[in-house]
């Protein structure tokens, strides 16, 4: 009972830190990491609720698994975009120096 509450609270705290990071961080990678921290916070809350009742609930586990996959996909996409932007910027810079 208390354990899952603790997990939940930590999850909430992580979520909060993530939000703070997303807002405050200037660097895209940092923002991404912050988003992932948020995600981890949410997953913790979910996992905590799996042990909320008497027996372990498989549904939150499944949700977390799905969530992780989604998070991976989202992170990959963001990285991909960020890298492409940087590539464009470098090309531009290269062209202007030539």
């Amino acid at each position: 009972m208390t354990q899952d509450l603790l997990y939940s609270v930590v999850g909430v705290a992580l979520f909060g830190i993530g939000v703070f990071g997303v807002v405050v961080a200037a660097h895209v990678i940092r923002k991404l990491i912050a988003v992932n921290i948020m995600g981890i916070g949410v997953f913790m809350v979910l996992l905590a609720s799996a042990h909320h009742g008497a027996i372990t609930d498989p549904v939150p586990h499944a949700m977390v698994l799905t969530g992780i996959v989604v998070a991976v996909a989202g992170t990959a996409q963001c990285l991909w975009l960020a890298l492409r932007i940087q590539l464009l910027d470098e090309n531009e810079a290269g062209e202007s120096t030539q």
């Binding site: 939000v19 997303v22 807002v23 405050v24």
Partner: protein, 1068 residues
């Protein structure tokens, strides 16, 4: 029945589908597009006719399409919508023709005609809308479809115009929407019903209804251009001419006005609206708009802008008529919907023609354009005169009914508004006409000299609309006239039957109508080059039917119910006598003129005005109905202007201006007076009931006709106008036309019925003082014709004195009337002879024996004037003396006037003698001129004695006492002249027009001051409207390169919102 359900829809589709099709066909498919356009036009008109005939036979046409639950799209044909639908359909046709001509070989025609059709479809939809929601939909559609038309040119000005147009109309639309939604929410589906939807719902909160009314009216007022919502209209002038024509005459402004009618009548219900007290507010706004628009129009030099402000003013007539909330005013407002449309579209067509053909855009460039583009300008003239409200044109009919309606509900102030507006209209339109017709062209016009008319496609539409504007006035009481439709609508709204066109035509003898028609026909013949010469030759014949009628016919009555408001021409004893005088004088003047003016440069123009004037003169003598009288009176007054300014000299022009000013003032006064009379009279044609007229009407009548009769204080036009005209015209002016004032008094004042103390005394005083005053001024004149003009004032003063006395003491009238008639005939003949004598005076200087004949010819009328025994003057004066016994002192004064007359006559003969010395007689046909003159003189001597009215007086006039009293004043006068003649000759001449000269000088000063003030005010106006414009500029144009994005960081916003939700949810 299926057809009945679909017909309204088909009518809208007949414009909508071609519009859409035109978009689809290519820019270059010229023929196809024209076919499509005109085919749609014709189909539309055909459907409308079908609709009209159906509605007339009582069928119901209604298309109902579901739109929302409890809210249908309804197209419904009722009488009111028919009025607007047929106007739109007809004018669409004409405008299409015009537009095809106008846009020949320009770009983007496909776009233009497409939107044009859509615009018409929207208008038709508005007209047929069966509930407020449908109305709203088409109303907004109209806004949208006109926008591309306004910006069609694509230049900066038209884009700006489009922007401002959209700003105004969309804001208006939004308010309208708010009003409609609100009303719908509280009152359910707003189907237009004849006596109003809301009147049947007493449970609604009046406060809400008032606010809703305000919202609706403001929303509609934007399109109807009610001040202060009118700002878009003058700016929208940047559009091409057909668009302005359509915008201003039919589609847009009328949509607003039509909407106001619908809201007041069919949604609120007139009774209910009056109970709510909202109509007075509307009336006030409309009245203000009328005046304001006219005032602003004064300051515009751009033709189209002037017309636009005129529209602002005129459209509010409709709103005013609606708001006055009387049945007759309703008729006036509704009929103005059509009438104003016809007139204004004509003017815009003409403005477009001027711009296209001559490149004329400004009023100041219009000089002399009438000769280059006679048909265009003729159409323009008809429309402009109609706008001023001259009978029998369309504008008069609406104004007449508005005035009547206002009086009916006791809103006397409306008369002032109408009068002021008419005056202002005259002030801004007449200079345009003057410039076009009478000023010499002062700019290098393109192309060759001579007529440079617009192509036929541009010419036919304005001519047709102008003809219609004329026809709807002339045949106002016809069964199919707009007026009768309006009456039908009012009947439905008020449940009260109005006199409609009666079918009984009583045409005893065509001769009576022929009297009027003959000169008119000849005038028409003048316009056609082929028959012009012949017509000029035939001018004297024009007076023959009148002469025949006066001599041959006993009492006659002609009733033509379709003409005017039901025309009555009648010939009783009085009018027979007067007609005789008129016929003789016109005949003689015509013959004399054909001699006198032979070879004149502007002979055609002169003849035209001469004939028109003749028509007026005969007509007013015969007319027994108000409308007929005022129509002919106006016709005569206005066409006399052409005679006055005929010489074209500066003096003539100045005289013409003064003349016109007084004519217009007189018209306005008479308009008010006759409306007052009519409201008393009911609406039935026939004999006018003068007895029970209100006193203010008598005052106005006295003054209005007094102007024409040269009553003191209103006389100043007379000594200017009479001398400058060509001799025959002067003779007519002085001998005959001033008598129109007398006829007016005669016919409309309650003479012999009711004693009107104050009016009588005033008239009497003014008359007798005028008689003396004119002598005093006239004696100093050096131009014999001016002197004669003053003599006319003096003589008319005497007649006025008689009328005044008759007003004071009705008992005198039976006898007095005969005496006055005699006096009028005598004076008419004698004065005409005197004027014509100026033309024969050169013979005095020759040595031929006939100069003695001429001397005799000159002296005889002069002696008659003085009233020496055995002349017509003696009879007339003794008759007057016999009958004018009260107040007693007046008889003595009358005798003394004879002294003055003697002085004048002696001075006249003296002047004639001295002026003849230098003159050289060149005319070959002098003998024939002399012969004509001789005939007249003969009539002067004997004519009066023949008249039946003379019978009671002849015996007395030969009595010793009468002889003495007709002898001693001339003797005294002659003695005075002998003593002081040289003094008179050497004394400084008082300028013709006496008082007015000083007034004019004062006015010139004032004008400068006013001009500055006017500039100041107009600056203020532009400043204020400029503020509007600037606000909209800011809305439209400002560019901020930097987006003023919220300076809150998005993330902070995000977290903030989260917090807000927490708080709000917890708090809740």
């Amino acid at each position: 029945m299926v057809l009945n359900n679909l017909l309204p829809l088909f009518i809208v589709l007949s414009a909508l589908l071609p519009g859409l099709l035109i978009f689809c066909i290519g820019e270059q498919r010229l023929l196809l597009r024209r076919m499509l356009n005109l085919g749609a036009n014709i189909a539309c008109i055909g459907l409308i006719m079908l609709l009209i005939s159906g509605v007339y036979s009582g069928e119901v046409f209604e298309t109902r399409l579901p739109l929302l639950p409890g809210m249908d799209l309804v197209l419904h044909a009722d009488t009111l919508s028919l009025l607007f639908v047929s106007l739109s359909g007809l004018l669409w046709f004409l405008t299409t023709i015009y537009a095809i001509g106008y846009f020949e070989n320009t770009e983007n025609r496909s776009r233009f005609f497409g939107f044009f059709c859509l615009c018409v479809a929207a208008t038709l939809g508005i007209a047929l809308a069966g509930n407020l929601i449908t109305f709203l939909i088409f109303y907004e559609l109209l806004t949208l479809t006109t926008y591309p038309l306004v910006v069609h040119k694509g230049n900066a000005a038209s884009l700006r115009a489009g922007r401002i147009y959209l700003t105004y109309t969309l804001i208006g639309g939004a308010l309208l929407l708010a009003g409609v939604v609100w009303l719908k929410a509280i009152a359910g589906p707003l189907d237009f019903t004849v006596t109003g939807v809301l009147s049947g719902m007493p449970q609604l909160d009046p406060g809400h209804l008032k606010i809703i009314f305000a919202l609706l009216i403001v929303g509609l007022g934007v399109k109807a251009a009610l001040v202060p919502l009118h700002g878009w209209l003058p700016v929208a002038m940047a559009a091409p001419a057909p668009v302005s024509a359509l915008l201003h005459a039919v589609a847009v402004v009328k949509a607003g006005a039509f909407g106001i009618i619908r809201v007041v009548y069919d949604v609120y219900g007139i009774e209910f609206a009056r109970e709510l007290g909202v109509t007075s507010m509307l009336a006030a706004v409309a009245a203000f708009t009328i005046v304001y628009g006219s005032v602003r129009a004064l300051f515009q030099d751009d033709i189209k802008k002037r017309l636009a402000y005129s529209t602002v003013s005129q459209v509010s007539y409709i709103a005013l008529g609606t708001a006055i909330a009387g049945p007759i005013a309703t008729i006036g407002g509704m009929v103005h919907l059509v009438h104003q449309g016809l007139m204004k579209i004509t003017m815009f067509f003409c403005a477009g023609n001027l711009a296209e053909t001559m490149g004329i855009h400004k009023v100041s460039e219009m000089n002399g354009v009438g000769r280059r583009m006679p048909f265009t300008m003729a159409a323009f003239t008809i429309a402009a005169l109609g706008m001023i409200g001259l009978p029998p044109l369309a504008g008069f009919v609406s104004k007449w009914y508005l005035g009547l309606g206002a009086l009916e509900v006791g809103a006397h102030w409306v008369l002032f508004i109408l009068a002021a507006s008419s005056l202002l209209n005259a002030i801004y339109f007449l200079p345009m006409l003057y410039a076009a017709w009478f000023k010499p062209s002062d700019r290098a016009l393109p192309a060759k000299r001579g007529i440079t008319e617009a192509p036929w496609m541009l010419l036919v539409p304005p001519v047709v609309t102008a003809a219609l504007a004329l026809a709807v006035g002339v045949f106002a009481n016809n069964v199919i006239s707009p007026l009768n439709w309006a009456k039908l609508i009012a009947t439905l709204e008020y449940g009260q039957v109005f006199e409609r066109g009666t079918e009984s035509i009583q045409l005893a003898l065509p001769l009576l109508s022929l009297v009027v028609i003959t000169p008119l026909l000849l005038a028409l013949g003048l316009l056609i080059p082929v028959t012009r010469r012949m017509c000029i030759r035939l001018v004297p014949c024009a007076a023959l039917p009148a002469l025949a009628a006066a001599l041959l016919l006993p009492d006659q009555l002609n009733i033509l119910p379709g003409l005017f408001f039901g025309s009555v021409l009648s010939l009783d004893q009085t009018s027979q006598t007067l007609l005789l005088l008129a016929a003789i004088l016109w005949l003689i003047a015509a013959i004399y003129g054909s001699n006198y003016l032979a070879g004149d440069k502007h002979l055609t123009r002169y003849t035209l005005y001469f004939l028109l004037c003749m028509t007026g003169s005969f007509g007013l003598t015969l007319s027994q109905d108000l409308f007929g009288f005022i129509t002919f009176f106006t016709l005569m007054s206005f066409s006399a202007y052409g005679l006055v300014v005929h010489a074209g000299t500066d003096e003539a022009m100045r005289a013409g201006k003064t003349y016109m000013q007084w004519v217009v003032i007189g018209e306005v006064l008479l308009f008010a007076a006759l409306i007052g009379l009519a409201i008393n009279n009911g609406e039935s044609p026939g004999k006018i009931n003068t007895a029970s007229q209100p006193v203010w009407v008598s005052w106005l009548l006295m003054l209005g006709f007094g102007i024409k009769a040269g009553l003191l204080a209103t006389h100043s036009w007379l000594p200017r106008a009479h001398p400058v005209a060509p001799l025959p015209a002067s003779a007519l002016l002085s001998g005959l036309m001033v008598k129109a004032g007398l006829i007016g008094w005669w016919r409309f004042l309650p003479l012999g019925e009711v004693a009107l103390e104050y009016v009588g005394v005033t008239l009497l005083t003014l008359g007798i003082s005028g008689a003396f005053f004119a002598v005093a001024v006239g004696i100093t004149q050096r131009n014999p014709k001016t002197l004669l003009a003053y003599s006319t004032i003096s003589q008319m003063g005497i007649i006025a004195t008689g009328v005044g006395a008759g007003l004071m003491t009705p008992d005198l009238w039976p006898l007095l009337s005969s005496a006055l008639l005699l006096y009028a005939i005598h004076h008419g003949l004698a004065k005409a002879a005197l004027f014509l004598s100026v033309g024969v005076a050169p013979a005095l200087a020759t040595n031929s024996p006939r100069r003695w004949l001429v001397w005799a010819g000159i002296l005889i009328p002069a002696m008659a004037m003085v009233g020496l025994p055995f002349t017509s003057g003696a009879l007339a004066k003794s008759a007057l003396k016999t009958s004018l016994v009260e107040p007693a002192w007046i008889t003595d004064l009358l005798l003394i006037t004879a002294i003055g007359t003697t002085l004048l006559m002696l001075r006249f003969v003296d002047l004639l003698r001295s002026s003849s010395h230098g003159a050289v007689l060149t005319s070959a046909n002098f003998n024939s001129r002399l012969f004509v003159y001789g005939m007249l003189v003969l009539l002067v001597v004997i004519g009066v004695y023949w008249l039946p009215q003379a019978d009671p007086f002849i015996a007395h006039s030969f009595s010793y006492q009468a002889l003495w009293s007709s002898l001693w004043p001339p003797i005294v006068g002659a003695l005075i002249f002998l003593v002081a003649g040289d003094y008179f000759a050497r004394s400084a001449t008082i300028p013709a027009g006496d008082v007015i000269v000083f007034v004019e000088k004062f006015c010139d000063r004032l004008k400068k001051i006013l001009k500055d003030t006017g500039h100041f005010f107009s600056d203020c106006f532009t400043h204020i409207t400029g503020r509007y414009a600037r606000v909209s500029m800011v809305m439209f144009e400002s560019r901020y390169s930097q987006l003023m994005v919220l300076q809150v960081h998005p993330g902070v916003a995000f977290v903030g919102i989260l917090l807000c939700f927490f708080l709000l949810l917890v708090v809740g």
